[in-house]
Symmetry: C2
Subunit: 416 residues, 2 copies
């Protein structure tokens, strides 16, 4: 199949969607929610055919699986997006020049947003709803493991769009073969921005091959630094929440840095982690401090490879630092620019940490597990950007728009 | 030379600059202005050695040339940047959650900004001053034609920085060989954003080879559409100003679209262009309408190649469209997303044009020549972005920053 035909249709759809009134967008989202519930049986049947090809032992199995309860959550999420304010048409700046020229910087849709993701059919709903709300067409490249599920979801959405007299090309699911991803990465002039959602191998592939603008998401190597002036009670609660709330998400804690003067408090800081059987990779001073207070079977000597690793598991490294500045240097070297945290009662240290750490989200006395669009009050989230261009941290509807300058004149000209 | 050593130093300098108080930044800019005037003789001598290697017939010769007057303008520009408000530390959002968690989205420096440009030594001053003001280190790759001039400028700036106790690595001029540009394009992890400033060949080279995030600038294929309801007086003034104010800049007009019903007015619309000897490439109906009213020697039959071309010269294509929608389609096909204009007294047509045209700056009854950071009241400009990610249209100090989220907590944790 010539994928350029699909990209061209998506671009034309983007131009059409830019004119779609906000109320119509919301009506469509509600209609897709209704249809999702009405077709529960059919969607689950297609999903079952994908599941039949995957071992239930595969860690992706649970993410691939749809259930009646999950479809109800998806429908509720669609209605939630419908209820959010439109991110379009916001006047970001307004300047009137002395000659009367009137300039407005206004938020507008991107046009076409491409998303590459892995075997999670719920992402197809997410991406479609957020892109439609942001006035853009979307081009989806899902994992081949979820192809029947995704196909059923997208066919259903396209039927609803057609019923509303809106072009079905507002959402396009690319064929599941690998060549389609490569074509999407090269689709300059058609795809305005590409967002990869998935593991580090996917992100690396996109980074090295994309010729369209990319917003990188995902990789989170997150640190908590327990400062010389840290409070142990807060520290234990923060470390535990950041590490164990959900280990498979990018905001989960990967490394605890502890000031050498506070090594005696390390056992209390780590005590709650025992209940979750968190495996600790500790450097020598930290291991000595933990010895006898933490199960030997869960306590290992750290190697260089334990730092800068995103674990996505009940595992964490522990590093002793001689000073505040050593903590900053360690984070600058090993962090991924996602979320970093300091635990301290020293206000000056807190402010220095906030200023010096170069990451999307920098916390004082709160866990990195808060890094999330809904938690931040942004409404919904398409991903967490770890780059600095355009969007940083949780990306929601506003970050899924661009802007243009609208200028009203009356025959003014610019002097030479 | 191992360029990675330079990139590492630039990154370290970026971390240092992020902490530099705004007043110190401004003091440095004034000191560089003073030093520029004090060293006029030396700077002109180095510039003369560059000029000696270039033919005065070369169109780049004038851009390469420094004069006492130009150095005075440069010094005044440095002082102007010093006087602008700092783009850093702006609170872009502030959210307090019900649990007391306090989240602020604050503008911060990128870190390291790379700029590739051609033989214009004044750009070295421009880029340095805007990057320093925006809290970032800059890595410059100038044209080899201007290498002695650039080297003299950058050495001088580095001396001034050192005098202030600030790392001279706040500005780095890469060696002039071609391999340095390639290294800069690949400097992931060191260069946070790369801005190419120059012609379409440079932009294409950067687009196809960059592994660091890029903001594309420059190419402007700009149209003016004279609508069925256009005013001839305004139209003639707008077309003339947009075409002839300065032909060598990206906001200059390249193509006039005229509604077929208004062909009889085409001679009056184009009349002022005769004085500047603007060469017109007109389609058949337009040529017939102009015949006898415009010098034959400056009137040619348009070919397909005349549309979508950025002329940078006293040349312009003229295209007849049968309808408003045909004008939109033509612009969507041939425009570069820079600046587009409609001339009309029909308010509805004006609003439809503003909404439908996908470009950084869309004008009603005003010329594209206004597309400029200083004209827009943005203070200064590092380039005009023709992409949609991060910055669109004139890029000034605010667009040269990113942001981060600063979160103050008191031991709050996120529920499961």
């Amino acid at each position: 199949m010539d994928l350029n035909v699909l990209f061209k249709k998506a671009k034309a759809a983007g131009r059409e969607l830019a004119q779609l009134p906000a109320e119509r967008v919301n009506d469509i989202l509600h209609a897709v929610a209704d249809e999702t519930l009405a077709r529960t049986g059919q969607l689950l049947a297609e999903n079952a055919r994908d599941l039949a090809r995957m071992s239930p032992e595969n860690p992706l199995y649970d993410r691939l699986k749809l259930t009646p309860g999950r479809l109800e959550t998806i429908a509720a999420d669609l209605r939630h997006v419908a209820g959010l304010p439109s991110p379009l048409g916001r006047i970001l700046k307004h300047v009137v020049l002395p000659n009367g020229l009137d300039l407005k910087r206004v938020s507008v849709p991107f046009g076409v947003i491409g998303v590459i993701y892995e075997a999670r059919p719920n992402v197809s709903f997410d991406v479609f709803s957020l892109c439609l709300k942001a006035g853009s067409a979307c081009v989806l490249k899902g994992g081949s493991d979820a192809d029947r599920s995704n196909r059923a979801v997208v066919d259903m959405i396209r039927e609803v769009l057609a019923r509303f007299g809106v072009t079905p090309d507002a959402v396009t699911l690319l064929p599941s073969e690998r060549g389609a991803a490569a074509a999407l990465l090269q689709a300059r002039g058609y795809v305005d921005v590409l967002i990869p959602r998935g593991g580090s191998a996917l992100i690396r592939y996109v980074r090295e091959n994309a010729r369209v603008p990319v917003i990188e998401t995902g990789a989170g190597v997150c640190h908590a630094y327990f400062d010389r002036a840290g409070d142990v009670g807060k520290g234990a609660a923060i470390v535990t929440n950041a590490k164990t709330r959900r280990v498979s998400v990018c905001n989960a804690l990967d490394s605890l840095l502890i000031h050498a003067d506070r090594l005696a408090d390390l056992p209390r800081l780590c005590a709650p982690l025992r209940d979750s059987h968190v495996r600790l990779y500790a450097d020598e001073p930290a291991r000595a401090a933990l010895k006898g207070h933490y199960p030997d079977s869960e306590l290992e000597a750290a190697t260089e490879a334990n730092f800068g690793t995103e674990y996505m598991d009940y595992k964490m490294s522990v590093k002793t630092v001689a000073s505040f500045d050593e903590a900053l240097d360690h984070i600058a070297r090993y962090g991924s620019g996602h979320s970093e945290c300091i635990i301290t009662e020293d206000r000056e240290a807190a402010e220095r940490f906030l200023q010096a750490v170069d990451a999307a989200c920098v916390y004082v006395n709160a866990p990195t597990s808060f890094t999330d669009g809904a938690q931040f009050g942004l409404g919904a989230e398409i991903g967490i950007s770890t780059q600095k261009l355009h969007a940083r941290g949780p990306m929601a509807l506003e970050e899924m728009t661009t802007y243009k300058w609208l200028i009203h004149g009356n025959g003014q000209t610019r002097p030479r």
